[in-house]
Amino acid sequence: MSDEELAKDLGPFAALTIGVGTMIGAGIFVLPRQAITDAGSFAVVSFVLGGVIALFTAFSASELGTAMPKSGGAYYYVNRALGPFFGSIAGWSNWLGLAFASAFYMVGFGRYIQNIIGVTGSLELGIISIAWVKIIGLFGAALFTFVNYVGAKETGKLQNVIVAILVVILAAFTILGTTQANVANLPAATGYGPMFATTGLIFVSYLGFVQITSVAEEIKEPGKNLPRAIIGSVVIVTVIYALVLIVMSAAVEPGFIAALSEQQIAVVEVGRLIFWPLGTALLIGGLLATASSANASILASSRINFAMGRDRIVTPDLNEIHDRYGTPYKSIAITGGLILVFILLANVETLSTLSSVLHLVIYALLNVALIVMREADVPEYEPSYTVPLYPFTPIVGAIVSLALIYFIDPRVIAIGAGFVVFAGLWYLFYARSRTTRSGVLGDWIRSRSDELPDAAVSAAASVEPDANDYRVMVPLANPNTERDLIKLGGAIAKHHGGTLHAVHIVTVPDQTDLQYAKEHLGEFDGDTAGVLEQARLDAEEFEVPIETHTVISHRGFEEVFDAATTHEADTVVMGWGGNSHGSPGRIESAYDEVMQRLPCDFIVMKDRGFDPSRVLVPTAGGPDSELSAAVARILRDAYDSEVTLLHVADDETEGREFLDEWAEANGLPDATLRVETGDVEAAIERAARDATLLSIGATEQGLLSRLVSDSLTMDVIDDLDCTVLLTETAHDRSLRDRLFGSR
């Protein structure tokens, strides 16, 4: 088996049980008494409605999951699609939402233990009084935090067994209950208002399915199994909830459930009435169910922490793996601490509704993220599962998720809103200066800044990450020069502590629809994935962070300029010669219109093998040759290159004076200085015989014009045997220090 197969060892059943196991513990074993008391027979409708709302988002989560089977699930998709501002909101909401949910499960766990051992009331500690149910909950929370902290791997498999037992117990309840059910027993419905309010209350029963996406990277054949597990688990639990609720209401006389005390558990009392041992089975079932829900939630929250830490939304220190246990112990310990605090501070209803509010915010964002990924037409976005009835499904999914929040207790909404505001402020004041990755939405808005209203563009810009993020873009076309371009680009990116962005531009004929091309990429370019994968490997070898992108365009060469703008490149390193980017004819026609405004610094490489051991920099002054000197400096620092500076002057003494000063000013005081008189072209050719690499700035004319016109430099380049770098600075940039930094 390949490593890939070994790393992905969650089969379809295991994936399904993560969803079912996380969901089934919560609602059905804790909330029906309240639900039936409040909504009467409409409690069944509330549970079904909750399932339907969850199902819309389940479709979206499935599509996003198959396109991006990455650790961190919902947070990752939102961060990728909508950018780190919303990513921060989704990440925090998911993390805290899971902690609130776990606290809720643990109070439920406490109630079950309480029923088994028969303690009631509170523990009095002087002036403080803590209900026993909470004390047991605290112990339970500490226990499951500990289990995850030391990472006993048996617990995971136990989860599968627990889910199977639960399904059997609930099936027995349904079947035995049906024999005693009587439609006349159904309580009266109390109306739509209480029904929606009850839906808000019980929605905590539908929070589990998104957790499947947080372990998506471990699922076998995620393209097939992920949607089945996500959608399947929502459908299964909805059906189970509905049947259990109907039986519960119909098997006992009206008023029986409403008369139960808060410490009694409705499903257990009804079970006892139907068939005494069934009550005992349900008692144990509830214990297992609440425990497995909490256990799964604590585990899922550590995955979200990891993904947030990787993007620097929170400190990556959280992600440290324990030396012995191999667990993300810090993140688990913090989540455990939060759960303990939440159990102490809040009551059951607050815990459950607050976690619902936070999850509903994520669900809405997930649906919007899907729409953005589709509309922005990202070539890398290739989900193998697609939502039915797009765009209807995600739009309705987002609306109903937000609408359900409206029916939750306003005080709880206020607390939830407080957390969302906190997450936004957290991004602006903590994470914005640290995270580097902008979202698809931001790129999309930037690339259309001319067409969109200024307000939208500046709003998007105001939440863009502003960490030191020097970007070197490397357009790749020719696999033969790819490695050399990555080497040079990598050295520049590394010098600035920035990132490489490898962009593969696939040119398709004008008459071909771009959407068609996107779906049939192979017909136009056999090896998109190959070139980018090789770039990724090479960048890893040089230890430079890299992101890869594919751009499909009718234009070849001009697309480089657009891509440089879209990706906010600070420097573009590209190849030239042979068939690097479209035909020469295309370049020429393209030149005039684009050359007037270079969006960033350009370095064009005529590749004859990348050997930076002896670098020659001819100069006559000017910003472009300063850039060529900066390149030489970076190569010297990275590869210990010997640098020679060449100046051709009319007067040798004046020339030497100029070059001395220039070398000093450009941070190359150690360079060998060579001053010649006479023909410039011949001098460069002579000097270049000893060099392995020539770094030369474009002067008055645009750099790229030199590629197509018969200017002086052009002839030199063709005659030489060494690799040539042509440099040209951004036209609209006066602050050159921002580009090539302090020396």
Partner: protein, 139 residues
């Protein structure tokens, strides 16, 4: 003291701290022409892992880096996925054709052994090639 000599040595590392002490001990006590450093990602085998695979891979990359720093030269590296750490190591040793396994024992109290068994013990019991136990571990 003369150093032990092997052609190709397989060296398991569990964490970055372990990588560092193992690399130092290896440099002090063995002459190897070729070193392959291996990290085993322990899989739950059909249930969610205790930490995500991407997270474990990042931790492995860090451990490899620390190893090379401490060892002073670059080495081959490999990440292995297995439900059992010792089995994963022995399979990896067979695959790369290692002449010997070398590691620093990681000790651990009764509690860790209860949880995951002793990898050291298991390696010694099940190995099909020479095993070199290096000093400088936790105990």
């Amino acid at each position: 003291m003369a150093k032990g000599q092997f052609g190709h040595v397989l060296v398991p590392v569990a964490s970055d701290a372990d990588a560092e002490s193992t690399a130092e001990a290896l440099a002090d006590h063995l002459d190897a022409d070729r070193v392959t450093v291996v990290h085993v990602v322990e899989k739950a085998g059909g249930a969610p892992d205790k930490a995500g695979v991407e997270q474990r891979e990042e931790a492995a990359a860090e451990a490899f880096e620390r190893f090379e720093e401490a060892y002073g030269e670059s080495v081959e590296t490999d990440i292995v996925y297995d439900t059992d750490v010792a089995d994963g190591l022995l399979t990896a040793a067979a695959e790369v054709g290692a002449d010997a396994l070398a590691f620093t024992p990681r000790g651990g109290g009764w509690f860790e052994r209860l949880l995951s068994g002793s990898v050291t013990r298991q390696l010694l019991d099940e190995t099909d090639r020479p095993v070199v136990v290096l000093p400088g571990g936790d105990q």
